[in-house]
Symmetry: C2
Subunit: 224 residues, 2 copies
DNA sequence: CGTGTTATTGACTTCATTCAAATTAGGTGG
DNA sequence: CCACCTAATTTGAATGAAGTCAATAACACG
């Protein structure tokens, strides 16, 4: 298994970039690794945003709740993804481990400081924010304008693309998680998947946590 | 499909940003002001992202389309808002003037360059991206989990908050725009507004483009 | 005033939800 | 390994919220 710093070679970027060959020995803001068990809470909506995070392994969900318990999962974060950045002092989401997950926690600092710092991580973080924004914008189109089947097809293809697999997706999240991500109910998620299976577009092996995409072309047609 | 470059803004060449000899690096993109008539296109989805924009006056909508014409308006941009930032070379949205609008166009540069430039605009832009992200995240909760009436109530309160008015909102956009922003149909938008009026929560003056919020407390209760 | 556009209202339909029940998966301890 | 238990998922039937289709009504402006 690879470590999160695979593509973050030497410095963390919180100070002006100096000398790549020399690793700062004290490293005050270098992130610390933390592990979370399946279902465990990483931070909570409204809590103080002392850190932001980068996924090393496993899957993390970030979500918002309405007062009556309705939930919207804005994103699933996979290895390499950065989540939990805030412009204010508070987290505007909750984050939980979907399966056993390992993350690196970085001490949060203001956007101002970050942009000024001009380091590797600074650029990574700005780029991560932009990626989050792009995903969010695509997801708004999905949530606002796609049918249940289109949502499921989009989700499967998108997830497959992110995992860069060969059509064999391991889905660590429950139907409830998928439903709360796509703005559906678990029953509708289940029915849509069953229907895709009957049509031979996907395969649902015995243990329901993995899915094989048999016919991506048809899925692509269903996506819109 | 549409050809991307048909209506790109009119000034000359599109080469990637290279420092013109005379322009100091601190102010790489002092923008040029442009006016757009109601309904006019500012840029188009898939078009080359040569500029990003800041609203001076009026209202701009940014939207994405599905192949069959379904549309999602991700945001309305008011005076002071920045829109049209992209991490890639292409616009992933269309932008049009909702009413007569004046914007400043800034020559686009890469996020890398921007962060490195460490200027006032850089910080403004990063902050604007973060604001867009936060709005998008709230909007996902609305689109995925709120009822029609809750969507309308949220929209009215949010818009009122952004305009910082005293409950007298001027809505420059059509019912179609509102519907495409909230993931509804024009009929449902109309019915919801009528119902709120019957309940005495809002007032719809004769010319349907302004709304008076009579009872924000009740609206707040309807919001979730 | 007409005329085209936008908004409202009504009747009906539909897709997704809700409620309910059956089935399956996964863990625990014998 | 198996029996048992609980939680997750699937399936079925009925309902409902929002959509569609269609017909006014109200503006906007030459």
């Amino acid at each position: 298994m690879q470590t999160a710093l695979t593509n973050t070679p030497t410095t963390n970027g919180f100070r002006p970039y100096t000398e790549p060959a020399r690793r700062p020995p004290e490293a005050p803001a270098l992130g610390s690794t933390r592990s979370f068990a399946k279902g465990e809470e990483i931070f909570i909506e409204g809590g103080r945003a002392a850190y932001f995070f980068k996924v090393v392994s496993g899957t993390v969900r970030t979500s918002k709740l309405l007062s009556d318990g309705r939930r919207q999962i804005d994103a699933f974060h996979l290895a390499g993804d950065i989540f939990g950045m805030e412009s204010g002092e508070e987290h505007r989401f909750s984050a939980e481990a979907v399966d056993d997950a390992v993350v690196i926690a970085f001490r949060r600092c203001s956007l101002e400081t970050l942009v000024a710092s001009d380091g590797v991580l600074a650029r990574q973080v700005v780029s991560a924010i932009m990626t989050s924004l792009e995903r969010a914008q695509n997801h708004m189109l999905l949530l606002g304008r796609k049918s249940a089947m289109e949502k499921i097809a989009s989700f499967l293809l998108d997830y497959s693309r992110r995992l860069d697999d060969e059509g064999e997706i391991d889905l660590p999240m429950s139907r409830m998680d998928i439903a709360d991500h796509l703005g559906l109910t678990i029953e509708t998620v289940s029915r849509s998947l069953t229907q895709l299976e009957r049509q031979g577009v996907i395969e649902l092996p015995a243990h329901r946590r993995s899915i094989t995409l048999r016919d991506k072309a048809t899925l692509g047609r269903l996506e819109t």
